[in-house]
């Protein structure tokens, strides 16, 4: 019997994941051993963990490295995404505590779970082996199922968790099947090797097995990023999940999905670009259109933002179709700005809500802008950014995405995209219509700002406005984060 030769372990590559996991485990222990009604300290601790991780992540910028026999990698692409995940996690944690207190499901486990989910996302972004990606995705999913159903006293939350779980597992089946077929066609699960093999063996799109594998993987990722027609879980789950988790889910996992999607398709399957481009084209159009158009009808603001997040996935897919530097950088930038604007918007939604009835109907916002002028302005900034109106980051992001498509020659896609944006304006404006153009009918229950909230909102506003007005540095980073 030979000795097992452990390959070179480059711990630096997985340092962020390790740190974050350790923090999560530590929090679990603390949660068990330290009694107390308020669990806010866990939140702050996890923020500390995230900050530490952030440093660890950022320190890797510009020094690409590979680890664990090529199952994971540290490159700028992954780092950029990891930063997005960490920001999303941190901001969501900032707004979690109060919400849980209000809803009466103040359990400390939520913070480790968020951290685990974040670890999963980071693995998805950094994984260069289908197995790593798959496992990362599962770590993320399993955590998210729980987070969605976290408020177990609430039937809506239960339902959201369960639906998410069933559909997520279902989609996992397809994703796996796709991976299996890809494995069968190429003989490996490592993205780099897949690409190398395809190039070397001269496999092209006539290889149905590879093609089918690609398509099935695409459906799996499409489910994660909520692209039509695999989007249908999104509104229900977003609506039912605890709002801070909705905020988190709408940003982090989506970004993670895109990270993996991009890596697999752009690194492993560039040879099939001609094939998947059209698939993604159709997905993009469907996603944007369905998301936006359905959002028009929504009365529930959480649900509306859920549909809007579908639409945003569509915009991002536009950048994906482009597949060029601009488009891909656009995706990175967009996901970053989307984190700020969407979580910011959800933060406001939490503030407007009350226990039990969350005041999530758009009409509940009547007069909100006058009762709470600063929050109102903040909400406007987020909504305008979501609508893609300058000078908010959302605009620059869309600009970049559509630019990519235009540069690659997909003018019609860009046109459909901008028309969708125009339609989307309507439902974002509707919120403002209620906030400012209508008189308030009743009192707003629970606008009690905690420092955490203020911090979150400040970060969000800054994160929307600074990249909006001075996007240069961010775009530059996004450009540098590309693996091409």
């Amino acid at each position: 019997m030979e000795n097992i030769v452990i390959p070179a372990i480059n711990m630096a590559v997985i340092a962020p994941e390790v740190i974050l996991s350790l923090f999560a485990m530590a929090l679990l222990l603390i949660n068990v051993f330290v009694k107390g009604e308020s669990k806010a300290y866990l939140g702050y601790l996890s923020i500390a963990g995230i900050v530490v991780t952030l440093f660890s992540v950022v320190s890797g910028w510009g020094c690409p490295a590979e680890g664990f026999s090529g199952t994971i990698v540290q490159d700028n692409f992954a780092i950029f995404f990891k930063v997005i995940f960490l920001i999303a996690a941190a901001m969501s944690i900032l707004i979690t505590d109060r919400y849980l207190e209000r809803e009466g499901c103040n359990q400390g486990e939520i913070y480790p779970l968020i951290l685990f989910a974040t670890v999963g996302m980071m693995l998805m972004a950094a994984g260069t082996d289908l197995m790593t990606i798959f496992l990362g995705l599962e770590v993320l999913s399993v955590s998210l199922y729980i987070l969605a159903g976290f408020n177990r006293g609430s039937l809506k939350s239960n339902e959201a968790g369960l639906k998410y779980f069933l559909l997520g597992a279902f989609s996992t089946g397809f994703l796996l099947y796709g991976m299996a077929l890809t494995y069968g066609a190429t003989g490996t699960t490592k993205v780099a090797k897949i690409a190398a093999f395809i190039a070397q063996a001269g496999i092209n799109s006539s290889n149905l097995m590879l093609l089918a594998g690609m398509l099935l993987m695409a459906t799996g990722f499409a489910f994660k990023v909520a692209a039509a027609p695999f989007h249908m879980w999104t509104p229900d789950v977003y609506e039912g999940a605890p709002t801070p988790m909705t905020a988190f889910m709408s940003v982090g996992p989506k970004a993670a999905g895109f990270a993996a999607f991009l890596r697999v398709f752009l690194v492993a399957l560039p040879a099939l670009k001609a094939e998947w481009t059209w698939l993604v084209w159709v997905l993009a159009v469907l996603t944007m259109t369905i998301g936006n158009i359905t959002a028009l009808y929504q009365q529930n603001i959480k649900r509306m933002l859920a549909y809007s997040s579908i639409a945003h996935a569509g915009y991002v897919l536009v950048g994906f179709v482009a597949g060029n530097a601009v488009g891909t950088a656009g995706i990175l930038f967009y996901m970053l700005s989307y984190a700020f604007m969407n979580i910011g918007a959800f933060a406001i939604i939490i503030l407007v809500g009350k226990k039990g009835e969350e005041n999530n109907n758009v009409s509940d916002y009547a007069g909100f802008g006058y009762k709470h002028p600063i929050l109102g302005i903040a909400m406007c900034i987020f909504l305008f950014s979501l609508a893609g109106i300058p000078p908010a980051a959302g605009f620059i992001g869309k600009f970049y995405l559509f630019s990519g498509a235009i540069q690659a020659g997909y003018i019609w896609l860009a046109v459909i995209g901008v028309l969708n944006s125009a339609a989307s304006v309507y439902y974002y404006l509707r919120v403002m219509v209620f906030m400012y153009f209508k008189e308030s009918t009743e009192e707003f229950g629970w606008v009690k700002l905690s420092p955490a909230f203020i911090l979150c909102l400040l970060i969000a506003v800054a994160g929307v406005l600074i990249p909006g007005v001075l996007p240069g540095v961010f775009l530059d980073l996004a450009q540098k984060a590309l693996f091409m």
Partner: protein, 664 residues
């Protein structure tokens, strides 16, 4: 003096500004009146000086242009704010300032006690300024400022009694109809400018420059189009067919306004404009014919309407339209001098008559007011026998009537006779000559008839007004009668400066004076004139006598019907009720216009608004929104909440995607 020509419009402007801004504070009517009258009088003095200076120059040198500043310069287009003094404009400024001064003076008395006294004088001054700009403008655009400016003032003054709906309507109608004309003017200007620019590379709208280049213009063709457009402008301003209907309505304004604007000055602007551009018009024989025909037609058409009106001012208004027709007839037959001559004499006698009628109305109003009666002070059926109560008014009115009827030796005789003679003898219109002359002659007959009808109804016979108030009918004060006397005098003797050659008693000063202006036109005219047919002096004498006879016939008929046999008109009316009704209702032209233009425009506007804008355009917009919302509702329906459906959607998505790639 010539260099100070800009003073002429400036004085009225100053008067306007003072009265306009401070009139309300001044309050004192005498001061306001003095300012207004003084302003125009100053202009008159300057005009006299200019005339003198012009007379002192040799005929070829009687052209002077004063450039104030460049007004518009854009591309090749350049319009200076510049004034042109030549014999023609000299005549016009004399008429405008002279008659203007008199009417201002008159107004002090006439408008006494009116609420908006200051406003009235301000407008009047503004009008004078605009009119002076019009006549002095050295290029079409300055002329156009005046052209529209007088339209504006006419609007303001007609609408002076703005609380009366009819006044407002009339004002608007006047302006809009003028605008129709202005539209033509503009197009004409564009055409001419374009033609010169693109064909001769002469980019100008300056009259003298055009004149210098006019030899380049072809006969007919584009010139016809341009001149016809200009003529449309003239019909608007000068109330010719088909745009005349505003003028009778314009009598809603105070009487001095009618005298100044709607008789003496503004309405003659069209004639002046044709005179100013005679060298262009003459190059378009078709246009000349149109001008002549329209002029003649208007002359007789308006005259017929005039015979049946009972409102004293309305009769005068139709008479004005008719006389303007004469002027256009003159222009159309190439008798520019005669046209301008008639313009001048008409200014005298028609202003005199309007002021006289004003005097009558003033008196009637006063009397009726005294008796607390609400009869119409302008209705001639209420008048009669006023000659005893108002002798000065009567005499001046009477001589003016003689003048308009064309009785020798009153001024109208000379000018009108000249026109008729020219219509008969002009070498341009071939066989149409007799028709033109005949129409003119009949119109002259009608003129004599209805004018004397007016005189007889007003001043002769028995007073038909309530005897209680009869005693309150008094002659107007001096401030009113002095202008009447001056104008009456001018109406009487004004004709002598333009005595026909055949008479030979005096040289035709007027013609000589204007010769340099129309020289070029007559030169161009010769190239297409028919046979230089020479008519004998005898024929001219004969026609002259004939026209006097015609006038006398008209007078006699009037005398018979309205003095001797006063029942006859009613009999006539009862015999031909339809005809009378048609004539009385002005041949239903207003109704026709309403039917043809006004109502369709309104209903079309309504249709466009409520039909197209709201239903179609907004319908498409809102419809798109609704459609999208419908889609939204439908797509929302897919989101049934059932996990199965979601899973189904996913599975179908997978199947579809796979199927597409596998079976393509």
């Amino acid at each position: 003096m010539l260099d100070n020509v800009w003073l002429i419009p400036l004085f009225p402007l100053i008067g306007f500004l003072i009265n306009g801004f401070f009139g309300k504070k001044i309050k004192n009517e005498t001061i306001i009146g003095a300012i207004g009258t003084g302003a125009i009088f100053c202009s008159f003095i300057v005009s006299c000086g200019i005339l003198m200076e012009l007379v002192g120059l040799s005929p070829e040198k009687r052209v002077f242009e004063k450039v104030m500043f460049t007004w518009i310069q854009a591309g090749n287009f350049k319009a200076d704010m510049a004034f042109l003094v030549d014999p023609l404009s000299a005549v016009m400024i004399m008429v405008v300032t002279g008659v203007g001064t008199l009417i201002h003076l008159y107004s002090i008395g006439y408008m006494h006690g009116e609420e908006g006294f200051y406003r009235f004088f301000a407008y009047l001054n503004l009008f004078c300024m605009s009119m002076l700009l019009l006549v002095l403008g050295a290029n079409m655009l300055v002329m156009f400022i005046g052209w529209e400016g007088v339209g504006l003032c006419s609007y303001l003054l007609i609408g002076y009694y703005f609380e009366k709906k009819s006044a407002g309507d009339a004002a608007k109608k006047a302006f809009v109809m003028n605008r129709v004309g202005d539209f033509g003017f503009l197009i004409g200007l564009f055409t001419l400018f374009w033609w010169f620019g693109s064909n001769a590379n002469i980019w100008t709208i300056n009259f003298m420059e055009i004149k210098a280049a006019s030899h380049l213009l072809p006969y007919g063709g584009v010139v016809t189009i341009a001149t016809l457009c200009f003529f449309v402008g003239a019909t608007g301003k000068s109330a010719q067919i088909p745009l005349y209907t505003w003028l009778p309505d314009a009598m809603e304004g105070p009487t001095p306004v009618s005298a100044l604007i709607h008789a003496a000055t503004m309405v003659t602007a069209g004639v002046y404009m044709i005179g100013r551009m005679s060298f262009v018009f003459i190059k378009a024989p078709e246009t000349m014919m149109v001008v002549a025909v329209v002029g003649a037609a208007t002359a007789i058409f308006a005259a017929t309407i005039g015979t049946a009106q009972n409102d004293i001012k309305r009769v005068l208004a139709y008479s004005t339209v008719s006389q303007l027709g004469f002027m256009f007839l003159a222009m159309g037959v190439g008798a520019f001098t005669a046209g301008i001559f008639h313009l001048m004499t008409h200014a005298f006698f028609k202003a005199c008559m309007f002021l006289g009628s004003g005097s009558v109305i003033h008196a009637m109003h006063h009397a009726l007011h005294h008796g607390h009666l609400h009869d119409d002070p302008q209705d001639m059926r209420n008048m009669g026998g006023l000659r005893k109560n108002m002798p000065i008014t009567f005499i001046t009115f009477f001589v003016s009537t003689l003048a308009i009827a064309g009785i020798f030796p009153f001024s109208g005789f000379f000018s009108k006779d000249e026109i008729l003679w020219q219509a008969f003898s002009n070498p341009f219109h071939g066989n149409l000559n007799i028709l033109l002359w005949g129409t003119g002659a009949i119109a002259a007959c009608f003129t004599a008839f209805y004018m004397f009808r007016l005189v007889f109804m007003t001043f002769f016979g028995e007073c038909r007004i309530n005897s209680k108030v009869k005693d309150h009918l008094h002659e107007s004060p001096l401030v009113i009668t002095i202008p009447l006397m001056v104008l009456g005098f001018l109406a009487t003797v004004g004709g002598f400066i333009g005595m026909p050659k055949v008479m030979g008693a005096l040289p035709n000063y007027f013609e000589h004076w204007l010769d340099p202006v129309f020289e070029l036109a007559s030169e161009y005219g010769k190239t297409y004139a028919h046979s230089g047919a020479h008519y004998s002096h005898a024929l001219e004498w004969g026609l002259m006598g004939g026209s006097i006879c015609i006038a006398v016939v008209g007078i006699l008929i009037a005398f018979t019907l309205y003095v001797k046999n006063t029942g006859a008109p009613e009999k006539f009316v009862s015999t031909f009720p339809a005809l009378h009704r048609a004539v009385y209702n002005k041949w239903y032209i207003d109704e026709l216009y309403d039917f043809l233009f006004v109502n369709p425009c309104k209903s079309f506007g309504n249709l466009l608004w409520k039909g197209f804008d709201v239903v179609i355009v907004d319908g498409v917009v809102n419809g798109t929104a609704k459609l999208v919302m419908g889609f939204s509702a439908a797509l929302r329906g897919l989101q049934s909440g059932y996990t199965h459906n979601y899973a189904m959607g996913m599975a179908l998505g997978v199947v579809a995607i796979l199927a597409f790639y596998v079976f393509r």
